[in-house]
Amino acid sequence: MSTPPSTPEQKREITRLQELVYELRVRDAMTTRVITVTPQTTIAEFREVLRANRISGTPVVDEGQMVGIISIEDLIKALAAGQMNATVGEKMTPRPVTLYDDEPLIHAVGKFSSLGYGRFPVINRQGDLVGILVQGDIVRALLRRLEIEYHEEEVRRYRASHIFEDILADQVTLRFRYQVIGGDFERAGEASSRLKKTLSRLGIHPRIVRRVAIAAYEAEMNIVIYTDGGELVAEVDPKRVYLVALDQGPGIPDIQKAMEPGFSTAPEWVREMGFGAGMGLPNIQNCTDEMRLESTVGVGTRLEMVIYLDSEARPCSPG
């Protein structure tokens, strides 16, 4: 039986994998937390190090200098010879072959196949030991990158960012409205979660999306905690996200006081859930470019927030 011809998709995947081995660096795949032993460590102790950390070999370091490498094969040889009290210094391979952390991964692939070693210590250009690489790390790094790219591709396919270019009008505004149910902690945050996903699909910068999401979530939690319910409305145009949180009461008696960091009227059970510490409104202020709060006791509260799409350089919560 002959092997079936590969589909165009398979071909593309294989080419992408080959490209990735050149694109990715050793440091993208290596494990940064390196477990080491010293030349004075006994083989019996070394066995315990391997067992406890579930690894198959370690570099040997003496006074900050890497002097060798020792693996499970050396351990088995020592075991067979009944030399469990020998030291790592006697059984190690001195002057191990190393990789540089900024080398392309393809160099590592080449060394694994030509030298047949199970692992390579990774050093930086100053000669410091910065990581260790086993063959499995390479496969994991490649799969991980492929997965990320696949996910990005999916997002791109969903992305509606071209909508502003495709629709012919002097002004385009997209409006999203979400219902928020008062007192429903089970679903609290769902409106903000859906808004966050929607904004991502619109292709808005992740930093902007994060700021909008945090402001929306704090506002939504306020509606859930303090009111009988309300709504969250987001209007998006090419320049800004305009967010309004509306509710039908009870209203805020003293807005200035409510804005003070740490001031809160939240009941104990709300605090036990990690909310109601009096940081919600100050957080919203820090995340938004503009914020207006209007409230009438017995009527309701209207919180307006604006985040400009070109303010992405500014991280959330600086103020």
């Binding site: 937390r33 089970e186 945050g189 903000s192 930093r207 859930m273 990690g274 957080n283 919560s317 103020g319």
Partner: protein, 130 residues
């Protein structure tokens, strides 16, 4: 730091299914106040918390946090785990206290989220120094 290394350092357990232990966390934050999580973290932070209700997962989602460690041996209720699995957020458990869990990771090189302008502002206002 990869979740795999985090798990080794805190001698922890994984609570969610399909958890990618090769996920990289860039820094850590320990907090039980959800507003603090929103205000004092960045994208890619590892959150240590003693709170286990589903809102912790919601908060993480909003803040772009992809992994949470529950400290002091606290095990979250099934609805928290279900929500985390739905959102693709990794949940880990540590039997150590908040202080020790954070300390183990910090000592191994996981940095904090750094200083925040809001903290510095309060500091200057109270202590009157630059």
């Amino acid at each position: 730091m990869k979740l795999r290394e985090v798990l080794q350092l805190i001698e922890g357990k994984v609570l969610t299914r399909n958890t990618d232990l090769d996920l990289e966390v860039k820094m850590g934050c320990g907090a039980d106040l959800m507003s603090d999580v929103l205000a004092f973290t960045h994208e890619g932070t590892l959150l240590m918390s003693g709170l286990t209700n589903p809102q912790v997962v919601r908060t993480a989602e909003m803040a772009g946090i992809q992994a949470i460690v529950f400290v002091r041996g606290k095990i979250p209720p099934p609805e928290t785990i279900a929500l985390a699995e739905e959102k693709g957020i990794a949940l880990l458990a540590s039997k150590y206290t908040m202080f020790e869990t954070c300390g183990r990771l910090y000592r191994a090189g996981l940095p904090s989220c750094g200083l925040f302008e809001s903290s510095l502002k309060r500091w200057r206002e109270f202590f009157g120094e630059e």
